[in-house]
Symmetry: C2
Subunit: 214 residues, 2 copies
């Protein structure tokens, strides 16, 4: 069966976004530093329509994580700015990514509030209001033999971990402290078992990949 | 100048002891699993007077961490069981380690309550009531050219980090979740800068070593 995988950049003190997330600073204070290692990669820059960049051992890690993914599940907090409540026609929020989002695959957005699907170029965002298990069913249907990627944020990955629904988790550990923010593993408990797959040391980041069981 | 170094086993979710520490379970629930990687080492077993054990890449990591240390600073919570308040003649607590503690060097115990020094074999425990900076001065005096080791727990390492007093920090990341307990980096904030020194993947653990600046 296809796998359910997550990979996410995390500070040494365990945060995937800094404190005080706002519309202007969606990753919170200093949160953009979590991604210094990846935004310098040629691969990442190409995908974002930018020139230049380097290739290093992280390039193969990123290639591995992007390969064989058929659908993504994300939280509303990744799709939109820190706002709660019903979707509002007035703001007509269409995600952070402009007219051509970089997903190129079906994306399922977890939310408490119904909204019609949104198609931008080759990405369709489907809004799922009936929980992570139903979102996973739909993502599996959409992804066929390919894997499902859990795109975050922390609370969504934590829910999948706590629910025993994740097969692989890769942490891209950035050598920074954020001191607060969205904490990975919060509320997950101690029942989840992790089995190391591999460790890769790379410029500005250490990649720790685990198989998740039980 | 000699360095101030810490190294400690930590769960993937950032705890150095599990929840509900007690006299019977000083490392909290499941906390002993943090040390599975080290207690299987020949080196560790010899030092604890036990036979057998294996040698692997962690052996050199441990050797490196134990080398050139002239004094240790620890919190009362590492020296004794989870008890607060004045030292009591009635309990006459002498540490967890019996008549021959494995330190073989001066140990400075941070406490809010005065107590006379305690000598057991070649280890003298000195109780310091005037804070981490004074403890560090005394440990430096005692260690000469050698380094000072900050032996934990989490709160003591966090204080040294927050105070800008630590030069090196090595995390022995055990592939487990503890779900609660004593959390490393809690309250440290985001001012501390970490610079990766090296990563070593070993059986049942990943060693991440950082230089600490600012």
């Amino acid at each position: 069966m296809s796998k359910v995988r997550a990979h996410i950049s995390v500070s040494v003190d365990g945060y995937v976004a800094g404190p005080n997330q706002t519309m202007e600073q969606p990753l919170g204070e200093n949160g953009e530093r979590l991604h210094d290692w990846v935004v310098q990669l040629k691969q990442w820059r190409e995908q974002a329509g930018m020139e230049g960049g380097v290739e290093n051992v992280s390039s193969s890690v990123v290639a591995e994580e992007y390969a064989n993914v058929g659908a993504e599940i994300m939280g509303r907090g990744k799709f939109g700015p820190p706002k709660r409540g019903p979707w509002d026609d007035a703001d007509a929020w269409q995600g952070w990514w402009g007219d051509e989002p970089p997903f190129h695959k079906p994306v399922f957005v977890l939310t408490h509030h119904p909204r019609e699907p949104l198609t931008l170029a080759d990405t369709t965002f489907t809004f799922v209001t009936d929980g992570i298990e139903r979102a996973l069913e739909r993502a599996r249907e959409a992804s066929g033999d390919k894997d499902v990627f859990i795109g975050g944020g922390a609370d969504v990955i934590n829910q999948f971990l706590a629910g025993g629904l994740l097969d692989e988790l890769e942490l891209h550990v950035a050598p920074i402290l954020l001191g607060g923010g969205a904490r990975l593993f919060e509320g997950v408990g101690s029942e989840v078992r992790l089995e190391p797959i591999r460790t890769i040391e790379a410029p500005g980041v250490t990649h720790l990949k685990y198989r998740v069981t039980g």
